[in-house]
């Protein structure tokens, strides 16, 4: 699966994109966050403020309960501030 980060999440994680094979225990966004948090200190630090993090699956807004699969593009970002 493809994982994208934007804004300060990208800075905290230290990259804008990573591709991983979906671990068997990951079914939902919530599971994925838990997996990522365990993958590095940077990830753990980035996901500390969960209330300020939005998620999109295949370019559609989703939530932490959304189920995901191997082919999905998942993006994590703070609340948007355009306009």
């Amino acid at each position: 699966m493809k994982i994208l980060y934007f804004s300060w999440l990208k800075e905290k994680v230290g990259k804008s994109l990573e591709e991983i094979e979906k671990p068997n225990e990951v079914h939902s966004i919530k599971d994925l966050i838990e997996f990522l948090e365990n993958s590095s200190a940077n990830h753990q630090n980035a996901f500390k403020h969960l209330k300020s993090i939005k998620v999109a699956v295949n370019k559609e807004f989703a939530d932490f309960e959304t189920l995901i699969n191997e082919k999905d593009e998942i993006a994590f970002f703070p609340p948007v501030t355009g306009g």
């Binding site: 994208l4 300060w8 970002f77 948007v80 501030t81 355009g82």
Partner: protein, 163 residues
Amino acid sequence: MKLPFSLLLQVVKVIVRVQKESFILQNEIDNLKSICKEIPGALVSFVGYVRDFSNNKKISSLTIEHYPGMTEKMLTDISRNATQKWPLLGTLIIHRFGTLNVNDQIVLVAAASLHRKAAFEATEFMMDYLKTSAPFWKSERVNKDNIWVDAKLDDELAKDRWE
């Protein structure tokens, strides 16, 4: 109810552009007018500019990041929703990304209709939704620091009143 994209395209034209370059308001308005299938009696446009102060801090520049693909998709959805809510002849959204200077144009939102009320309301609706659901993030340069702008509760409330 969601109409098929192809059908809507025939009914009301929706223009969405995400670009680095600036835009010339008059050209864009003329273009929007030219794609309307009837002469719009009313065309409302909103232009957003880079402010020089934010929270009493002097800003030297603004950098806008976005999520390519999702941005266009969200802006198109917002435009289509506006065309379903009001009797519009056409809509236009242009949003810039990259580094902009103080006083530069950031965004242009416009709606054309036979009468002004629909055009005014649709423009405000599109702007309110753009603010809260189009994946753009602003970073302000203050002194020598780049500071990510926080989302505002007011913007969320402005959007909610349309629901």
